[in-house]
Symmetry: C2
Subunit: 207 residues, 2 copies
């Protein structure tokens, strides 16, 4: 299929206006939208065509609360590495929208899948997790195209998340995601806006 | 910015017709296209806004040859885990297009970046590599929208690739990529077509 300038412009809009969202409205997400997003994940690349991502939609209030506690503890510990001034800046950042986001998705990687028959991952076993990352990013872009925001929460003890959600031993947490309507739209990363880390260009050289 | 059905349809076309390409024409890629693709990588998400991906465009023939040897050795070793029948199937698969692809890109992750000041990666340090994966996938989708194909070669000894390309100690190979015009278009993964691993739907459940 020959893609056109219209495709390139549309893709650029999606990429440009995608953010790591931490400010959500509590509006629920219609079930048919979630179903479409789930189907879009099938289009992600995966090593050996193994599709090792396993998605848990966390709806039980007690489980959501345990994840929020996990984040709060991990975030308090993370702040301790900074000097006083930096710690004050860090404390001023909103780094997750776990309370407001209507949907929590925990994405795990099955690290011993039969699917794919081991192809493509003998020298780089991390390719399984990388496949889940592309599935998450596929979901992220599709959600943005549906005018929904996604926030990837990495300030969590991943082993504790796996225990909280009682997953099999060979499932590894790859990403814990908040999904919902973003409270506002912007084409600039929050950490750039808040002067925590300005945007830098991709480093690329010839050898 | 409010995205529209036209955006969703265009994104779906890009996702649906993206493949992990192993069959390339040798036609060169114009420099302005590479420049646009590089700029698009700046739109990828990254932990702490650290943008830890480092791209080497490998043009030196002797270096390309060393990578091809690395692949051939790794691929021969990978074949050894299979029984005779499966090994014959494996040998029938084309798993890289390193000779024909006009562009080789080695994407490394800087594992000790100053950028981002450690935010978001204390409990999940793998977030740096995951950021590079989203940058690779951004490049992949943008390339497809430019009617170019990308192939991710993971059947490589990553430490040997780093040595071949003389990168700093704290750079980790995340993906070695072939880029060029695909010899043919399809919306079906090659491994499904060749009956190595059929497509399976995303596993998703509520808890």
């Amino acid at each position: 299929m020959q893609l056109t300038q219209a495709h390139r412009d549309a893709l650029n809009d999606v990429l440009q206006w995608r953010r790591d969202v931490r400010h959500f409205s509590t509006d629920p997400i219609p079930e048919d939208v979630l179903t479409r997003l789930r189907a879009t994940m099938d289009l992600a690349p995966s090593v050996g065509n193994a599709r090792p991502w396993r998605v848990l939609h966390v709806t039980t209030p007690a489980l959501r609360e345990k994840i929020i506690s996990n984040f709060e503890k991990s975030n308090a510990e993370a702040a301790e590495i900074y000097d006083d001034d930096t710690r004050a800046s860090y404390a001023g950042l909103k780094l997750a929208g776990l309370r407001d986001a209507p949907v929590h998705l925990a994405v795990f990687t099955e690290n011993q899948p039969a699917e794919g028959r081991g192809l493509g991952r003998q020298t780089m076993p991390e390719m399984l997790c990388y496949s889940s990352v592309t599935a998450i990013y596929t979901l992220w872009l599709a959600a943005r195209a549906e005018n929904l925001g996604l926030g990837w929460v990495s300030i969590l003890d991943p082993v504790a998340v796996a225990q909280t959600l009682s997953v099999p031993d060979h499932w590894q947490l790859t990403g814990y995601l908040c999904l919902g309507k973003a409270a506002f739209d912007t084409d600039t990363p929050l950490l750039h806006d808040k002067k925590w880390q300005e945007n830098t260009p991709t480093q690329w050289q010839e050898v």
